[in-house]
C-alpha cells in the first residue's frame, strides 16, 4: 500500500482538490450565489485551459472570444432550431467552431507572434461585425441577441446543483484530456515546435498539421466553455466577442503559470476570488486596476506564475540555510 502511494504521490494533490471541489456545495450549503460563482469559475477554467493549450504549440491568441462566442451562438441556434437537448447542441456547436478554428489557424500558421496576435484579434472583430450586420440579424438577433435554453431545465429539482456537477465533470474531463494529450507524442511534437520550429522540422515534424490540430482542439474546448456560459446566463449578445472576453483567459493563464496544466486552474481560482472579493467591497474600477497590476507584477517578478511560487519559496529557504551553514563553518 505504502509504496503504491509513494509511486503515485504526484496524483495525491489533484485527487485531494477534486474531492474538495466535488464536496464544496455541501460546505457552502447550496447557496445560489456561491454556486453561480463556482459554475462561472469552472467555465473559465475550461476556457483558460483551452487558451493555454494553444500556447503549448507556441501560438498566443488575442481573439479567443471569437471561438467562445461562436460556440455560444452555434449551440444556442442548433438547440433552438432543431429542438434537441442543449447538452448535445453544445458538442455539435463545438464541432462547427473547431472547423472554423482550423480555417482561422490556416491563415495563422506562417505568422510570427505579433502578427498572429493581430490576426486572431482581427477575427474576433470581424466575426462580431458579421453577427451584428443587418443581413444576418434575423438569425443572430443583431445587437439585441436572444434567449438561450438552460443546460439543465429549471423544472428539474435543484437544477443549479445538477448544472454544477455537470460542468464540474466537463471541466475535469477537459483537464484530463489535455493532460493525456500533452503526455502523448502529439504533446512532444507541440513542445518541439514551440521551442524551435526549424529544429522540429529538421527532426521530421511537419509543424503545420500540429499547429492546426492545436487550433482546432483549442477552438473546440473554448466553444464548449462559451456554450456553457451563455446557457448559464440564459442569454447571448454580440458583446460576447468583446476584448474583455479575449483577455480574461490570458490573465488567468499567466497569473497561474503559462504552459502548465495547473496554471490556468490556479489563476482562474485566485483571480475570480479576488474579483468577487473586490466586487463585494464595491470597488468597480479599482478591481480592474488591482488585477492589471497583479498581472504586470507576475510577469516581471514571477514569470512562471503562481504555480512556481512554492518552489521559489523552498529554493529561497534552502539558499538561506546554505548561507547560514557556510557562515558557521567558514
Amino acid at each position: 500500500m505504502i509504496p503504491w502511494i509513494n509511486q503515485r504521490r504526484r496524483y495525491l494533490l489533484p485527487a485531494f482538490v477534486l474531492i474538495i471541489t466535488a464536496l464544496l456545495p455541501l460546505f457552502l450549503g447550496f447557496n445560489q450565489y456561491y454556486l453561480t460563482v463556482l459554475i462561472l469559475m469552472l467555465v473559465f477554467i475550461i476556457y483558460a485551459s483551452a487558451w493555454n493549450f494553444l500556447t503549448f504549440s507556441g501560438q498566443g491568441s488575442l481573439g479567443h472570444a471569437a471561438f467562445f462566442g461562436l460556440g455560444g451562438y452555434f449551440s444556442a441556434l442548433i438547440a433552438i432550431k432543431s429542438g434537441i437537448p442543449f447538452i448535445i447542441a453544445v458538442f455539435a456547436g463545438a464541432c462547427i467552431t473547431a472547423g472554423i478554428g482550423i480555417l482561422i489557424g490556416m491563415t495563422c500558421v506562417r505568422l510570427r507572434e505579433w502578427f498572429l496576435a493581430m490576426v486572431t484579434f482581427g477575427f474576433a472583430v470581424i466575426i462580431q461585425t458579421l453577427v451584428v450586420i443587418s443581413q444576418l440579424s434575423d438569425i443572430t438577433g443583431g445587437w439585441d441577441g436572444y434567449a438561450v435554453p438552460k443546460l439543465i431545465p429549471s423544472s428539474v429539482t435543484g437544477s443549479i446543483l445538477v448544472e454544477y456537477y455537470c460542468i464540474f465533470t466537463m471541466a475535469v474531463a477537459s483537464l484530463l484530456f489535455f493532460h493525456l494529450l500533452l503526455k502523448s507524442k502529439i504533446g512532444l511534437a507541440l513542445a518541439a515546435i514551440r521551442e524551435n520550429e526549424v529544429e522540429a522540422k529538421a527532426s521530421g515534424i511537419n509543424p503545420v498539421p500540429f499547429k492546426l490540430f492545436a487550433f482546432g482542439i483549442s477552438a473546440f474546448v473554448t466553444a464548449i466553455a462559451g456554450a456553457l456560459e451563455v446557457s448559464h446566463f440564459g442569454y447571448i449578445s454580440p458583446e460576447i466577442f468583446g476584448t474583455d472576453i479575449s483577455f480574461w483567459p490570458i490573465i488567468y493563464s499567466i497569473t497561474g503559470g503559462l504552459g502548465t496544466l495547473a496554471g490556468p486552474v490556479i489563476g482562474t481560482v485566485v483571480i475570480s476570488l479576488l474579483w468577487e472579493g473586490l466586487n463585494a467591497l464595491g470597488l468597480t474600477y479599482e478591481r480592474f486596476i488591482v488585477i492589471g497590476v497583479l498581472l504586470i507584477l507576475t510577469i516581471i517578478f514571477l514569470p512562471k506564475g503562481l504555480v512556481s511560487l512554492p518552489g521559489r519559496i523552498r529554493q529561497r529557504k534552502q539558499e538561506k540555510k546554505a548561507r547560514q551553514v557556510k557562515e558557521k563553518t567558514g
Binding site: 506562417r110 507572434e113 484579434f121 482581427g122 451584428v132 476584448t243 490570458i250 497590476v293 504586470i296 514569470p303
Partner: protein, 293 residues
C-alpha cells in the same frame, strides 16, 4: 445610390482626417518597435490620456485646445517614460509574448484609472473654430480638419528633423538599426529606449488632443481599437518603416471611410482587419517587411 463628385470628395477628406490620427499612433508605435523590438498594445491608452488631459485643461483653463498640445505632449512624455521604466524595461528580452501580456495589464490599469478619475461617460469638447468652414471648390470643409492635418504634418516634419539632424535622433536610428553595434559606439541604448518611448507616447497624446478638438466623443475605453488598427497599419506598411506608417495610415483611413460609406458603419472596424488578414495570407511578413528567419 447617387454617387457624385461632392460625396466622393467628402469621403476622401474624412479619410485623410482619420488617417492623421492613425499616422500619429502608427509612427509612435513604429519608432518604439524599431528601437526596442517590442509591441505596445497599450499605445491607445496614451491616445485616451491625451484626450482627457486636453479635456481637463480645457475645462479648467478655457484656452484654445490647440494650445493645449503644448501641455498634453510633455505630460505624455513623462507618462511614457514612467511606463517604460516600470513595465517594459524589466521584461526586455525575456519572452516573445511577454510585452503583449504586460500591455494587457497596462490597458486595464490605465483605462480604469481614467474611469476612476473622470467616470466612464462619453465626453466631448467644442472647438472655438467649429463654425468656420472653408470652401474648397467642390466641398465645404470644417476649418478644424484642415488645422488638424497641418498640425499632423508639422509634428511629422518636426520628428523628421529630430531624427535626422540631431545627435539624439541619430543615436535612436543607430539603436534601431543595430542595438549591439550602437552600444559598442558608446550609445546608452537604455536611455534611447526611454526617449523613444516618451516620443511615441507624446505622438499618441498629440493624436488624442486632435481627436478631442475635432469634436469626436471619447471615453476611457476608446483607445484600444485605434491602437490595434495602428498596429495593423505598421504591419501593412512594414515594421520599423516610418514612410510605410504614413502611407498605411492614409490608406486605412481612406478605405475605412469608403467602406463605412458603401457598406455601412458596422464594417468600419472589421475592414482594416480584413485588409490585414488578406495581406498576411500572401505576405506573412507584411507588405514591405523583409524576409527574415
Amino acid at each position: 445610390m447617387d454617387i457624385n463628385v461632392e460625396i466622393i470628395a467628402q469621403v476622401i477628406f474624412w479619410g485623410l482626417y482619420t488617417g492623421c490620427i492613425y499616422i500619429l499612433l502608427a509612427t509612435g508605435l513604429n519608432l518604439i518597435f524599431g528601437v526596442m523590438k517590442i509591441v505596445n498594445f497599450a499605445h491607445g491608452e496614451f491616445l485616451m490620456l491625451g484626450t482627457y488631459i486636453t479635456f481637463f485643461l480645457f475645462v479648467v483653463s478655457g484656452f484654445n485646445p490647440y494650445i493645449l498640445l503644448c501641455a498634453s505632449i510633455p505630460v505624455l512624455i513623462v507618462i511614457g517614460v514612467i511606463v517604460e521604466r516600470l513595465c517594459f524595461r524589466p521584461i526586455l528580452g525575456t519572452g516573445k509574448l511577454n510585452e503583449i501580456f504586460v500591455s494587457i495589464g497596462l490597458i486595464y490599469v490605465i483605462q480604469n484609472l481614467a474611469a476612476r478619475i473622470w467616470t466612464d461617460e462619453w465626453k466631448t469638447i467644442q472647438s472655438p473654430f467649429r463654425d468656420i468652414t472653408l470652401d474648397l471648390g467642390v466641398i465645404n470643409v470644417p476649418s478644424d480638419y484642415l488645422i488638424i492635418m497641418s498640425v499632423t504634418a508639422i509634428l511629422l516634419i518636426g520628428l523628421y528633423v529630430f531624427l535626422y539632424h540631431t545627435w539624439t535622433g541619430r543615436a535612436i536610428r543607430a539603436t534601431s538599426q543595430d542595438r549591439s553595434g550602437a552600444m559598442l559606439m558608446g550609445i546608452n541604448v537604455e536611455r534611447m529606449d526611454m526617449i523613444t518611448f516618451g516620443i511615441g507616447a507624446a505622438l499618441a497624446g498629440a493624436a488624442g488632443t486632435l481627436w478631442a478638438v475635432s469634436g469626436q466623443v471619447f471615453n476611457p475605453y476608446m483607445g484600444s481599437i485605434p491602437a490595434i488598427k495602428a498596429f495593423a497599419i505598421i504591419i501593412l506598411g512594414g515594421l520599423g518603416s516610418i514612410p510605410g506608417a504614413i502611407a498605411g495610415g492614409l490608406a486605412v483611413g481612406l478605405v475605412e471611410n469608403g467602406t463605412a460609406f458603401t457598406l455601412g458603419g458596422a464594417w468600419k472596424d472589421a475592414v482594416s482587419f480584413i485588409l490585414l488578414i488578406i495581406v498576411l495570407i500572401f505576405r506573412p511578413t507584411g507588405l514591405f517587411g523583409e524576409e527574415c528567419e
